[in-house]
Amino acid sequence: MSEITKKIQEIAREILEKGEAEIVIGWEKGTFWYLSPPAFIDKPEDTQRLVWDEFCHNNLSKYLLDYKNHEGKVAIFVKGCDSRAFNRLLQDKQVDREKVVLIGIPCTGLKDQDKAKSLGPNGDIPKAQKCMECKYPTPLVYDYLIGGEEALNEVAATKEAPDFSDVKAVEEMTPDERYDFWTKQYDRCLRCYACRNVCPACSCRECIFDQTRIGWIGKANNSSENQFFALTRAMHVAGRCVECGECERACPMDIPIMLLNKKLIKDINELFGKYDAGIDPEGKLPLGHFDKNDPEEFM
């Protein structure tokens, strides 16, 4: 058992024993060695199920929405990206800071699940794409921090520069090529809404994509409905996406959803000034307020 796993089990046990929270949400080992799905622990003796390893992908902040009307406190473990998601929910007043205990884990980057599956446990498994571009591996907000300052230094050392080369490659396509590229990607979309349901920026109580009776979106699975879904989803999370990459990981059809999200991040940076979602819970959203200096070429 790793040192960090030992520490997270200890702290989870302490939190439950002291009654600081009623439930601790962390990760546990799943069906395969390369899966570490969410675990909901409400008994101190069950804290031994908790683990920390390079496959703890799930952004646990999302689950706080399930506990919105819950009276007691909930403790969750947060990586850098998860903490940004938490800030985002805080910014939208979706969660109450007082009702959440945050345990930060400085993250040195997770590994790519799909590649792990094909390379096997002894293979040289690369980092997940989102982690290679992560600007905030260290939790931005926490009540407890696993590993202390030392861990923070280690994380800082592993940080790599973000890069929009994949977005640029799509931008360089001709409009027809680009249309063809995205059409092919979204033609295989099943509209299972795993990307939406796993996304911490998707917090609407009633989602437009569930309004098929009213007719906002058709139930048929075809290019036009799928593209409407893809674009609306992307625009809706624009300025709120914390780059946790969960949408893309959750997609059963391997659609490069983050490419679309990153295009919007890049555009926002260029149009409204550099902005990273979920850094400042008090700040204004680039697409959520009007600034006199906003570009308005279309007017």
Binding site: G30, T31, F32, L35, P37, P38, A39, F40, N58, K62, Y63, D66, K117, K184, Q185, D187, R188, L190, C192, Y193, A194, R196, N197, V198, D210, T212, R213, G218, K219, A220, N221, N222, E246, R249, A250, P252, M253, D254
Partner: protein, 329 residues
């Protein structure tokens, strides 16, 4: 047994494709699924396809009939049903069993579904045996023989570097006759099937679940579920559907499309009553449907051990683990 070298399999498919539409497991736009055979098709025979064959018989979106509604008048017109025969090559035992499950739903219990029946009646099924289970396979736990499928017209055998064919039905014999010039008759021994990584003991589970509707296990199991439909849409047996409209002015098409018991709209009644309001009720219904309700109604489980949901679930809801939890409850 009649055999052919694996490398020469395209010759068989090529020959059949002259007379029939032939669907083969292939990689198409980034996903493995049953795809119409063409010369440049990227066959995927190493492991089972991600998208099961159910959409051949029960497409995700299907037109039912068209209509024209203007003022008080209404015209309804059905679409003609196709009659061309098609061959589906390379269906694994788990997915053959799923077709058996779908047959129960769409072809029995008072009503026959004409859309499903039409596609089913004009399909010739060539099953393909497995020798090396994937990490997520547990078909044997569901009483399925990976080397011998139910309901096949032809059983094809993976013999390592060769493929063997055995005709099961009369139409299967006819098809084998057509390709016989490409095949060699030889004695073969079926290779042993590899070890299964996953398993589930379903003995007594449907009966035990009769008393477990109010069991606290459902609170626990459902908490991590995201209520998406990734599991249902990659499942070879999940068959729930919605009926909806596509209307453009006066013209409309009635379509049916896959639906999922995880969605709020699925059971939401006009007026707002929701009989299954939350994660717990929906997750419980899903697993009770697979492991209790379906066996009660059709005398078979609604799970074939294909393992797709285990792999594709974003939070690793694992039906084998749920079965264990039910057993231990």
């Amino acid at each position: 047994m009649k055999t052919i070298a694996k490398a020469k399999l395209p010759l068989v498919l090529e020959l059949l494709a002259k007379e029939y539409k032939v669907l083969v497991p292939a990689k198409f736009e980034g996903v493995t699924r049953f795809t119409p055979y063409q010369q440049d098709v990227e066959l995927a025979l190493e492991e089972n396809v991600i998208m099961p064959p159910k959409d051949i018989f029960f497409p995700q979106t299907e037109k039912m009939y068209k209509f024209k509604a203007k003022d008080k008048s209404l015209e309804i017109e059905e679409y003609p049903l196709e009659d061309a025969m098609q061959i589906i090559f390379g269906i694994r035992s788990c997915d053959m069993k799923s077709i058996d499950c779908l047959d129960q739903v769409f072809l029995t219990k008072s009503y026959v579904d004409p859309y499903y029946k039409n596609k089913r009646d004009r399909s010739i099924l060539v099953a393909l045996s497995c020798i090396e289970p994937m990490d997520s396979c547990f078909c044997t736990s569901m009483g399925i023989d990976p080397q011998k499928a139910v309901g096949a017209d032809i059983q094809a055998y993976d013999l390592g570097d060769k493929i063997g064919f055995e005709a099961i039905s009369d139409v299967g014999k006819e098809i084998l006759e057509k390709i016989s010039s490409l095949l060699t008759e030889e004695e073969v021994t079926l290779p042993a099937v590899g070890e299964f990584n996953l398993n589930a003991d379903v003995e007594g589970v449907p009966e035990k679940l009769k008393e477990m509707f109010d069991h606290p296990i459902w609170d626990d199991i459902s908490r991590k579920c995201l209520n998406c439909s990734a599991c249902a849409y990659v499942c070879p047996t999940c068959h729930c559907f919605d009926i909806a409209n596509e209307v453009r002015g006066e013209d409309g098409v009635k379509i049916r499309c896959w639906d999922c018991c995880m969605f709020d709209e699925y059971t939401m009644m006009a007026g707002g009553h929701q009989p299954r309001p939350g994660k717990k009720e929906r997750v419980r219904n899903r697993f009770l449907h697979k492991l209790r309700y379906f066996p009660e109604r059709y005398d078979m489980l609604l799970c074939t051990g294909c393992g797709r949901c285990v792999v594709k679930c974003p939070v690793n809801m694992d039906i084998t683990s749920i079965i264990r939890q039910i057993k231990n409850a």
